[in-house]
């Protein structure tokens, strides 16, 4: 798996962990352990999103940074040049955007 796919897989995993924990905390607002885990994983997710945006393209509008998201690895015809990066990268519902995760997750899921 290349760097892009490894990072995407990690982002998917940590984000899902947070999605699940968020609902848990909605009904258990005083649970210390869950809050600690949320804090740690949230931090991790922010770092991963930032490194993915710097290297490839922004996945959220908060990661759009026109000064730093213009690496030569960006999936765009303007790679390496300053440009509007929000439309870079594969379309989320296409197989190309999801190929990354399949090896690891599909084996367990199917």
């Amino acid at each position: 798996m290349d760097d892009r796919n490894t990072l995407l897989k990690e982002i998917g995993e940590v984000s899902f962990f947070l999605d699940d924990l968020r609902l848990y905390l909605d009904t258990h607002p005083l649970e210390e352990k869950a809050m600690d885990l949320y804090q740690q994983h949230h931090q991790k997710r922010m770092e991963l999103l930032k490194s993915y945006a710097d290297k490839f393209e922004p996945l959220t509008c908060h990661c759009i940074d026109l000064a730093s998201n213009n690496s030569p690895d960006s999936d765009t015809r303007y790679a390496g040049r300053k440009h509007w990066t929000w439309s870079d990268g594969p379309i989320p519902w296409d197989t190309a955007a999801n190929a990354c995760h399949t090896a690891g997750i599909l084996k367990g899921g199917a």
């Binding site: 982002i11 984000s15 996945l59 908060h62 955007a97 999801n98 995760h101 997750i105 899921g109 199917a110």
Partner: protein, 203 residues
């Protein structure tokens, strides 16, 4: 206010075209217990929910259902984007093809178009949460049925993920129900509408 994230909650990677499978799974887009109905049901109910934590939970689950809607649409899209007319004809997908080509349009598997009656926003907290608990289980049953019918591992993987989320949502709605009950006089849980008859809600 929402903001978009350019990735699916769980990956959908389907390499084999199959309009037949798409015609069954489309029920989880526009059917009575589908993801569109789920999302809109929770996001409509939350405004008058008399307990702030429960409104918050409805927002978060309603938001996650939007991500599920996107996954279901990705599954249908990938199953049909390369279909030939003969394939559509052979499996009975031709009627849908005539009206929508291979675009996404919310309908139940049996052909009934999406109906806002599925929202079930009654304006009574207990009633609405009961509805939500049932809705999660109905969606789980639909996923069970789909997983029994469908053999393709690439399609089954995201369906199994979605099925598991229905169980988690059921659990969380059960906890929300307990929270709502704490705010009521235990003698009147089901006699009054706490959303409207506010005199029965504990201070």
């Amino acid at each position: 206010m929402w903001s978009y994230e350019k990735r699916l909650q769980f990956p959908v990677h389907i390499t084999k075209t199959c309009p037949k499978t798409a015609s069954l799974i489309i029920s989880q887009f526009g059917g009575p217990d589908g993801e569109l109905a789920a999302s809109m049901r929770y996001l409509s109910q939350r405004y008058t929910m008399p307990c702030k934590e429960v409104s918050g939970l409805l927002t978060d689950i309603g938001t996650e259902e939007l991500a599920h809607l996107e996954m279901i649409c990705a599954i249908i899209y990938q199953l049909t984007k390369n279909m030939k007319v003969e394939e559509a004809k052979a499996c009975g997908f031709d009627a849908y093809y005539v009206d929508h080509t291979s675009a996404l349009w919310p309908t139940a598997a049996a052909g009934v178009p999406f109906n806002a009656c599925e929202f079930q926003s009654k304006g009574d907290a207990i009633t609405d949460l009961m509805e939500d608990l049932a809705a999660e289980q109905k969606a789980r049953t639909t996923y069970d049925n789909l997983i029994r019918i469908i053999d393709d591992g690439e399609v089954r993987a995201p369906l199994k993920f979605l099925r598991a989320r229905e169980i988690v949502h059921f659990q969380r709605f059960g906890e929300a129900m307990e929270k709502i009950k704490e705010k009521l006089d235990e003698k009147n849980f089901y006699y009054f509408n706490m959303e409207f008859d506010k005199q029965f809600v504990k201070g």
